[in-house]
Subunit: 404 residues, 2 copies
DNA sequence: GGCATTAAATCTAACGCTTGCATAAAATTG
DNA sequence: CAATTTTATGCAAGCGTTAGATTTAATGCC
């Protein structure tokens, strides 16, 4: 009977644990001294310095020359720093009508971005992969980043995906078109790939950097053409086997809702209906527009300007949104609901009206309603955030492409 | 600047990690040899034996005399075993109308049980605490277990609870009555306490021992007087800040549902309505019963016997249940829905009818519908399971009361 | 400029824990 | 009883840590 051979001390387990502690500290801070790391990690100076040396050797950190300026009393400390340029992550928002890609460094700072439309004529699997490749390559070129230094990529798609990033086969050809095998495609390029539903990525963005930072449970409600929620409960994203948690197919069965239409499409549809049926008051600024110009921004802008007809539409939207929120809260007991997507910047008034209605619908305390600060970038921010988190999680298992 | 002093080797971290590995192996197996533990943990024989010695010293394990029987070829191995009687956990199902308590050993085997009703006259905080204490003490006495050897207790209540086991204050006096400060009360007895919503405990039971073992995501739907679900997604219970995930307050807003009534109460209410309105066919066995004898078991039994009137009721229940399941699945994309509670043993037929309706309501694949095998014990099994899991998680931090 | 002061880095010994190997023990088989 | 097999034990070596003494590099004061 042969057992796997081991190094001393359980395969250097302790050494590894301590290296992770130090690297985590480096990630959470900018320039730091050994003493600061000692306080944060509880390790000895010897250990901290030894782990730092190892991390420098591996390419994750560097020692920086001390700024000539400050200087305290005693011997000046050596300064360490995470090498933000030791590697990069790619985030992709592969939406129905356009593909957006960003390149970010290890600190999450965006260093390159590119976008290309996907028109109806090219809405097929191979074209979608090709345009995505082009978009990524151009974003990398714009950032001046060698593709070999990409440590991970996350792709957001308007489709269900399983834990491996595959979209389950089924009658829904839309999903299959939206996710034409991204996972396998990018794995072939040698990258660590995550493919995730767009609403779930919006939730990741809020959790890491947005309105989800200070609460245990919240829902990020993408509210453009269709409602779709990414749900974080107890600090973790609720996915389900196919990432379909929060897909809100159940809205068909909710009284006063009945469809998955989001705020953007409802504002447009109802606005045009009101316009054509002559239901708008005579002095309505909305009424003066051509029908085809009526869309969500126009409706919200008119309402903000005091247009009575538009305000009636917003009230109607508030009722709809309140019901959607009541369903989410009734099912998941979230502390906050973050309205995300392209409409987020203009829904302030709507949310105030919605909150009043919601108070009467749910068991107190009602979830807090806030607008996302990411606007149309929620998905792409979530993608790069998630890619970066994956890199951080198993940083010590990754070989950095180039070390100088 | 003073830093907390440390032992060598990071506070014995490695030693601890290895001890946990060995103890976990002991928990997962019955009698075992050092060689078996070596294979499972990847540790050396010296290390395994040394950790076993430590665990025996601490009281968690024992060395057992080798059975004279089997014997292989070489030197016979020493045999180790978890001491199932090293400590005990108490599970409590503190329901509205009765309190049930069990005592289980470290392997989860029930060694004592007691039950007491809570009638309306004693439905107040102090009486509820008193009858619970009595029930537990009698269960311990029946098991012959010294209360000092209790390592943890979990209490299931029909109320929301936060992570500390407290029920949030609010207008709902029912919840406050159902959870009259159990957490603090039992902490005063020196026990590690968990207080958790009953539906969530049912979900824990299914996850650990029941129909949730082989799927990543499922809902345990308590279906007696009121619907209430405990939800497990990606292997973890979805709680929310107050454990209210799955509380299903949203049923009020679902088309064709409109109330939180569960299968038990609906069968009774609809059955009696049909009886009194003369809607039951002349040859219905159900119709021959006095109105007050019509309840869920009677309805299901009659339907199983072919009673046309009862079958119509079951069909109506199936429609209601399908809508509830569609809502859960639409929101959470679960792989399976486990119908639990007292009605579980008799809902086989109902679930088959429900599955057909559900197929037409949700996006495929529809969640699988199964009946819980725990019947009315789902909550108490979940309570003892959860208490035991908590003990396992921080076993090495617990001092065993008595070591001989 | 010399010198005390301060704080960080470095060096060394000791320690805890694990591994690996040699050796001993306890059984079976021929 | 000897050979074989398997496990247990004892011991040296090594890793990685901690603790503490020593050295180094700065400042400030005389």
């Amino acid at each position: 009977m042969s057992r796997a051979p081991q190094n001393a001390s359980s395969s250097g387990l302790l050494r590894r644990i301590n290296a992770v502690s130090v690297l985590d500290f480096a990630w959470a801070n900018d320039v730091f001294t050994a003493t600061e790391a000692m306080d944060a990690t509880g390790l000895t100076r010897s250990t901290v310095i030894s782990r730092c040396a190892e991390l420098i050797e591996l390419g994750w950190m560097r020692e920086v020359e001390r700024a000539p300026e400050p200087a305290g009393k005693g011997r000046p400390a050596r300064l360490y720093q995470l090498r933000a340029d030791a590697g990069y992550v790619v985030g992709v928002d592969a939406g129905q009508h356009r593909v957006l890609a960003t390149v970010s460094d290890l600190r999450g700072a965006e260093v390159g971005r590119q976008e290309h439309p996907v028109d109806r004529a090219h809405d097929n699997a191979s074209d979608r992969l090709a345009v995505t490749d082009t978009t990524i390559d151009e974003a990398l070129a714009a950032a001046g980043v060698d593709p070999a230094r990409v440590l991970g990529i996350a792709v957001g798609v308007p489709a269900l995906t399983d834990a491996q990033g595959a979209t389950p086969p089924g009658p829904n050809t839309f999903w299959a078109r939206m996710n034409p095998g991204f996972a396998e495609h990018f794995r072939d390029r040698g990258w660590h790939v995550t493919v995730e539903n767009d609403a779930n990525l919006a939730a990741h963005a809020e959790r890491a950097l947005g309105a989800g930072r200070d609460v245990g449970s919240f829902a990020a409600l993408l509210s453009g053409e269709r409602f779709g929620a990414g749900i974080v409960v107890d600090g973790a994203l609720v996915r389900g086997s196919y990432g379909g948690a929060g897909e809100m197919r159940l809205l068909d069965y909710v009284v006063g809702v009945g469809s998955p239409h989001g705020l953007g499409s409802l504002a447009r549809i109802w606005g045009r209906e009101a316009h054509e049926s002559g239901a708008l008051p005579a002095d309505s600024a909305l009424g003066a527009l051509p029908t085809s110009a009526i869309d969500a921004p126009a409706v919200f802008a008119a309402a903000a300007a005091g247009d009575v007809g538009a305000i009636a539409l917003v009230d109607r939207l508030a009722d709809r949104l309140a019901r959607v929120c009541a369903v989410i809260d009734g099912m998941l007991d979230v502390d906050r609901i973050v309205v995300a997507g392209g409409v987020a910047p203009v829904v302030g008034d709507l949310l105030r009206r919605t909150a009043t209605i919601l108070d009467g619908m749910v068991h107190p305390p009602a979830p807090e309603l806030v607008a996302s600060s990411f606007g149309a970038d929620a998905v792409i921010v979530g993608a790069s955030t998630l890619a970066l988190e994956r890199v951080r999680t198993d940083a010590l298992d990754l070989a950095l492409g180039v070390v100088d």
